[in-house]
């Protein structure tokens, strides 16, 4: 099958290698502009794990000439994060992108794998710490960019719909609101399918390591993902339709006024933040 734009062989739904790369980069650039994610004056920090999504964001923001750095969180999960962090360090060195790595061990006193057994609880703790550290170490930045893609966002919308969590529903989107104390988060790959990102990363020769967190307990998310992927396979365009409809229907939420944590001074909605509460529990 030939490319829609030239005589060369297709590598994706529509395009040859050259035209696919061009299509991909232009679409990300357009998403950034249309959703007013970034300006050239902004200092942006990519929340990087070393996986294909965050490597692609890092590379594109660098290529488009933004003032970009990377921050990685080392959860302390044996045999998992070590590989991706090694890959990330090399990548950043090659492209001269400043990289900081913060570990749970240093920051909260314990590695994740010595703290909790596998299961939902691990992801809850892990996610709370990650959000906390990402925010703490990006206070001097204007934006945090994450690797969230169209598939992630569709799954989140569907999961919230199924569970009836309308509050979370209105908090998703291509960027977070601006709340004092929280660095704004943006998602440059918001409209890119996971398969497209894999294709881009493959064609660019990034060679990101395939790796799965041994703690991942995503049974519900995995079900939703299978379901959405089945629909997409049978009716191409489903994912984009879901997200477009969601963006139409979304109503902004009024955020509660923000206090400061009595222990660590980070912004939170009660008197002691979630991170400090979990820290007390696991170090008790």
């Amino acid at each position: 099958m030939k490319c829609k734009l030239c005589e060369n062989k297709r590598v994706s739904q529509d395009y040859c290698k050259e035209h696919f790369l061009k299509y991909f980069e232009e679409k990300v650039e357009k998403t950034i502009k249309e959703h007013e994610m970034l300006s050239k004056k902004d200092k942006v920090c990519v929340a990087a794990s070393g996986g294909k999504d965050s490597i692609t964001v890092l590379y594109l923001l660098w290529k488009l000439g933004y003032n970009v750095s990377a921050l990685a969180i080392d959860e302390g999960i044996e045999g998992y994060r070590d590989h991706t962090l090694e890959f990330l360090s090399k990548f950043c060195k090659k492209h001269k992108i400043p990289l900081k790595i913060k570990s749970y061990e240093k920051e909260v006193g314990k590695r994740l794998d010595t703290t909790v057994p596998k299961g939902n609880h691990a992801c809850h703790i892990c996610g709370t710490f990650r959000r906390h550290l990402l925010n703490k170490y990006t206070q001097k930045y204007d934006k945090i960019a994450t690797g969230h893609n169209l598939d992630d966002e569709c799954q989140a919308v569907m999961m919230n719909l199924v569970k009836g969590q309308t509050k979370l529903f209105s908090r998703q989107g291509p960027k977070t609101g601006q709340i004092e104390g929280f660095t704004q988060k943006i998602k440059p790959l918001y409209l890119m399918k996971e398969k497209e990102i894999m294709t881009y990363s493959f064609l660019k020769g990034f060679n990101t390591p395939f790796n799965e967190c041994p703690y991942a307990n995503q049974s519900f998310r995995a079900k939703v993902r299978d379901f959405v992927n089945k629909l997409e396979y049978e009716n191409p365009g489903t994912k984009e339709n879901i997200i477009n409809k969601y963006l139409d229907l979304r109503k902004p939420v009024k955020e509660k006024s923000i206090n400061k944590c009595q222990v660590c001074q980070s912004p939170c909605s009660s008197t002691i933040c979630k991170t400090c509460r979990i820290k007390q529990e696991i170090n008790a």
Partner: protein
């Protein structure tokens, strides 16, 4: 045909001739979740595969 699958991890050798789409169907893999490559190049679903091809099926789904 030599087939290496990233997720769920598997290496196997079986006789196969047909399109890439048919191969995925036989392996019960959704094309949305994987990228098929042959000798380091992406193979499209409608392409014919030969029994002496070396196939790698890369997982698109990130983990964790």
């Amino acid at each position: 045909m030599k087939i290496r699958i990233e997720k769920p991890k598997d290496d196997k050798e079986t006789f196969f001739e047909g399109t890439a789409k048919e191969l995925l169907e036989q392996l019960e893999i959704n094309a949305e979740e994987d990228l098929i490559t042959r000798n380091g190049e992406i193979v499209k679903l409608e392409e014919e595969l030969k029994d002496d091809d070396n196939i790698e099926i890369l997982s698109v789904v990130s983990g964790g």
